[in-house]
Amino acid sequence: MNIIVCIKQVPDTTDVRIDPETNTLIRSGVASIINPFDMYAIEEAIRLKEKFGGRVTVLTMGPPQAEEALREAVSLGADEVILVSDRAFAGSDTWATSYTLSRSIHKIGDYDLVICGKQAIDGDTAQVGPGISSHLDIPQITYVKKIEEVNLGPENKHMRAERMTEEGYEIIESPMPCLITVVKEINEPRLPSLKGKMRAKKAEIKKWEAKDLDLDPDLIGLNGSPTKVVKIFTPPPRKKGQILEGDAAEISQKLVGLLKNEVI
């Protein structure tokens, strides 16, 4: 079973702080991490490989420093890692990103399953996963919280998964190849092994530029992106709150008074 995992390197928001004077984001010294949802995607791919054999290829599109994220993926057990990086991709929105990633997946060629995290924690769009499946014209199951069954029979390769919804979950069967996006509940990611870390140091990172992919130049980067950011601003800070004083009974009385109109 050959699996491709798409990951993104993101700033670790644990480190993100707001400058109280300027009310802007302090980003200097903020560490980069693999998007947390993508860690579940990598883990699920490794688990499937351990069960069914095959290869795990981890793919990322990003600046040269995203190499770090790929080395971490190797330390966790990825067999092959590919960095898709080119100035020409700068300014890509989710349309152009999913196009570029889908062309990269097309180039990898032989795959049964593509796994993405449900969304990245910096942009929070959740659009790239379904975007890739649309470009590749393969079926998708989003918000997967459990893979119930994988059937790799030559006639009818398919999988069955639980897809999270607002009210519970759905059980969905899909032929393969297909794409799934995963949520936190699906597994508990492992820590890298010492052996894995050693392997990661020496691992070869494949690097693909725009010219290495069969791409329409009008559909990549800023030109291929229908959306444009016109303004960035910090949200107005929440109004300074009020601390309620007194013993438990007094405080409760006060709060009930303050919220009464809202709850009735």
Binding site: P63, T94, W95, E162, I171, P175, T227, F233, P235
Partner: protein, 402 residues
């Protein structure tokens, strides 16, 4: 395309450095310098520069191969999500906002409804202010499935050419709409919390949080139609019901494999006990590590019940196995926007705050006066939750009975 700083014009004022969401501009020898490996050419630095020192150039105009004429597109569409043949409240919120936008543009507001035997429900969309409803009726559309829904919507959009398409940022909306946008090369903005119109250019101004709500970005889609956006639940006000409002229901059906799905929906499991629809709730009472023991969630549940609210949880309490994942609020859980959010024994790590800080009123109960949750709290209570919660539940019970 490229970006550069004209050194002669740069005064080293640092405004662009603050504006850059990607920390791609540095201050070197009293001038701004762009790190092109970090820069995404988003253009956020252009406007703040008061000296026109930053130039963003594109090699070719992005509309060069775009066959559709922008002016052929008009009307605002709202994708009306249904479950078990009942229209979901998010749809009425979108119709409320959609009406406002349609009036500014002077166009019609239309609903799109996919399902089986839903004529009655289609009428409800009219009563919420739509001028027309495009209704596609098929047993194969009874329940949401990605392929039939996105293929049908693509066909509708190609045929009737709306100017704007709005959709809820729900599990269904987010799974479907990206496939639609790819299919028609339209711009799509996720999880908007603000929508407005630039009347002169007929552009939808789509404002959304990024970096967990630390930054807001306004996004436009200048050269492609329709302009598409998903909108966060509970942010827009529902359209009011007017049973006298008249509109037209247009029945549409498609042939062939439009409704065909490669994936099969085998079962729908509703977990009433363990799952709460947090995003629908007006009031959420959440518990964290401060509860000390899983049994103590009873206190949270008690208050939630009296208030008719839902129970949320911090990541710590979910990871400890005290509550199931569907209760988790925050970065790796759900983003919620209720009228009242009551955080009990939750310290308020940034990962939790990003999931709830857009709530209207935030109440924080915590023993530690320095807990970060108090920075976002409307009402802070520095006290032992084991003393306050029972008291609070009792008092609310008395008030609400009256």
């Amino acid at each position: 395309m490229s970006i550069k700083i004209i050194n002669e014009k740069c005064t080293g004022c640092k405004l662009c450095i603050k504006a850059c969401p990607f920390a791609a501009i540095e201050w070197v020898k009293k001038k701004a310098v762009i790190d092109l490996d970090k820069c995404t050419l988003c253009g956020a630095c252009i406007e703040p520069c008061k000296f026109d020192a930053i130039v963003l150039t594109k090699i070719s105009p992005s509309d060069i191969d775009f066959p559709k004429k922008l002016e052929e597109h008009k009307d605002i569409w709202v994708f009306c999500e249904q479950k078990n043949s009942v229209i979901q409240s998010i749809s009425y919120e979108l119709l409320g906002k959609g009406r406002e936008l349609a009036d500014i543009l002077g166009v019609d507001l239309c609903g799109v409804l996919l399902g089986e035997n839903m004529k009655q429900e289609a009428q409800k969309i009219i009563h919420r202010g739509a001028n027309r409803v495009y209704h596609v009726d098929s047993p194969k559309l009874k329940h949401y499935q990605s392929e039939p829904y996105s293929k049908t919507l693509v066909k509708l959009i190609k045929e009737y050419r709306p100017e704007i398409v709005l959709c809820g940022a729900t599990f269904i909306g987010r799974s479907m709409i990206s496939r639609v946008a790819i299919g028609i090369h339209a711009g799509l903005t996720a999880d908007c919390t603000g929508l407005d119109i630039d009347k002169e250019n007929r552009l939808l101004l789509q404002t959304r949080p990024a970096f967990g709500g630390n930054i807001m970005a306004t996004i436009i889609c200048p050269n492609h139609r329709p302009q598409m956006a998903t909108v966060r639940h509970k942010v827009m006000k529902e359209a009011e019901i007017n049973n006298h409002h008249r509109g037209k229901i247009i029945e549409v059906s498609y042939e062939g494999d439009t409704y065909y799905s490669r994936t099969k929906l085998l079962d729908i499991v509703e977990e009433i006990e363990e799952t709460v629809n947090l995003t629908e709730a007006d009031i959420i009472v959440s518990g964290g590590r401060g509860l000390q023991k899983p049994e103590n969630f009873k206190l949270i549940e008690g208050l939630a019940k009296v208030l008719g609210g839902a129970v949320g949880s911090s990541r710590a309490a979910v990871d400890a196995g005290w509550k199931s994942y569907s209760h988790q609020v925050g970065q790796t859980g759900k983003t919620v926007c209720p009228k009242i959010y009551i955080a009990c024994g939750i310290s308020g790590q940034i990962q939790h705050l990003v999931g709830m800080q857009s709530s209207n009123i935030i109440v924080a109960i915590n023993k530690d006066p320095h807990a970060p949750i108090f920075n976002v709290a409307t009402y802070g209570i520095v006290a032992d939750l084991f003393e306050v919660l029972p008291e609070l539940t009792k008092k609310f019970k008395e008030v609400l009975k009256k």
